[in-house]
């Protein structure tokens, strides 16, 4: 999908854990809290299911930013899922920044099922950051047209 400056819209992929952040997003909807339409939510059972390789694949395929979101440590429906997520993404974020990806493009946040306003605020904030940064060209597959 070719990227031209004028018509570009940020494309942000959110990996949301089913029990907390996805439910928080639902509550954001129930409460009609508006946020930019730049976000696509992908449901996973637990933030522990989010493989850093999915994030690499997403950037390769042309996503502008990825948010990894799950329950607050201690609240995980599977008791320990998010503790592993925390370790993996503490390392992953530093590694991605180390190879040159702008830090705003890969974020991780804990958002519980009750924190609808926080979900709205996080999404709005990331969307603005990415709009400022512009389209992501790093780590991307080469583009071809036929």
């Amino acid at each position: 999908m070719s990227v031209n400056e004028v018509t570009w819209q940020p494309k942000i992929l959110v990996f949301a854990c089913n029990w907390c952040t996805y439910a928080g997003a639902d509550l954001t909807g129930l409460s009609r809290l508006q946020y930019p339409a730049t976000v696509r939510i992908l449901r996973v059972p637990c933030s522990g299911r989010i493989n850093p390789q999915f994030v690499l694949k997403a950037f390769q395929k042309g996503v502008d930013a990825v948010l990894v979101a799950g329950c607050h440590p201690g609240d995980c429906h599977y008791t320990t899922g998010n503790y592993f997520t925390r370790r993996r993404f503490l390392i992953m974020r530093r590694l991605m920044e180390y190879v040159g990806l702008e830090p705003e493009r890969l974020q991780a946040r804990w958002i519980s099922a009750a924190e609808a306003p926080k979900f709205q605020q996080v999404i709005t904030e990331i969307s603005e950051q990415i709009r400022a940064l512009g389209p992501n060209r790093k780590l991307r597959d080469e583009e071809w047209k036929i």
């Binding site: 390789q53 690499l56 390769q60 440590p73 390392i91 590694l95 991605m96 180390y98 990806l101």
Partner: protein, 296 residues
């Protein structure tokens, strides 16, 4: 070094004659004066081929994987980095300790083969960078040790992350351009993976294109995906033996990624040196409730 070779041969011969092991894995002279290669000796009289000189850089630990299902024991000579590699293989349950006879060595640091080839026989040849920075020259975990256990190499106080910090200080675009420049020339020959002791899967996802994770196409995007994925897979288990960099036909500084992760693991989860203690819990195999919190 010279007399140690004789001790080495005698030890190997005794082992084979007494039947303590079916085979001894060591080094023998290769085609050139600056290269020694691995040797697999099963007959006592062949132990004459074994040598111990400043070019025995090959990490022999991973060869044990080929004999883990064979009957009897296998003896292997290990330097400091090799023994750490062996510990990682034990930690990953890929080898059974009782099937291995480990003969430890004190390593003086191995000479850089590429430099040796350039400078020629007479001149003084520098050690490999990884050997200069090496903090575990002596085998850690062995059945018996050859040569006095005294340190015959000065050991730096702690790991040298200066290159990593230098890279960290650059701007995102500069970092990215360096990263691309390195991995543009990657051939995807997987030498770095096949020589790495921490890469001991039975079937690697990069060997199964049907799994959908990667394709065989050689473009910079797939190469970067491979490099980052492998770095994450060996995170917390890379012993810093530097064999990946030595094996790479196009000399990509692969250790820059691994060192970065080692530095971050130490900073985030506490000092951890892979392969120094077989019983240790792998940093990315568990967690602490008190892990740093950045995602509130």
């Amino acid at each position: 070094m010279e007399d140690l070779t004789l001790v080495l041969r005698r030890t190997a011969k005794e082992i084979l004659e007494k039947g303590e092991a079916q085979m001894v894995i060591g080094w023998e002279k290769g085609a050139f004066w600056y290269s020694s290669t691995s040797a697999f000796i099963s007959k006592p009289e062949d132990t004459e081929r074994l040598i111990w000189d400043e070019y025995c850089v090959n990490n022999l630990a991973k060869y044990l994987l080929d004999y883990r299902h064979k009957e009897g024991k296998v003896a292997v000579f290990v330097k400091g980095c090799d023994s750490r590699a062996l510990n990682v293989l034990l930690q990953d349950k890929q080898l059974k300790r009782e099937k291995i006879l480990i003969i430890g060595l004190a390593c003086p640091g191995m000479k850089d083969e590429v430099e040796a080839r350039k400078l020629g026989r007479g001149s003084s040849i520098p050690l490999y960078k990884k050997c200069r920075e090496c903090r575990y020259p002596n085998a850690l975990n062995y059945d018996f040790f050859i040569g006095e256990d005294k340190v015959i190499k000065e050991i730096p106080a702690q790991d040298d992350f200066s290159e990593v910090q230098a890279l960290e200080s650059l701007s995102p675009d500069e970092k990215y351009n360096k990263f691309v420049a390195n991995y543009e020339r990657c051939l995807r020959c997987y030498a770095c993976r096949n020589i790495c002791p921490a890469c001991n899967c039975r079937e690697c996802i990069f060997d199964r294109t049907a799994s959908g994770w990667s394709s065989k196409a050689n473009n910079v995007s797939e190469n970067m995906f491979f490099a980052l994925t492998r770095a994450l897979h060996v995170a917390g288990r890379c012993v810093g033996c530097g064999e990946c960099e030595r094996a790479c036909p196009v000399n990509i500084p692969i250790m820059l990624l691994n060192k970065k992760i080692i530095q971050d693991i130490n900073a985030l989860f506490g000092e951890y040196e892979a392969g120094t203690d077989v019983t240790a819990k792998l940093p990315l195999g568990g967690f602490e409730f008190t892990d740093p919190e950045e995602f509130m």
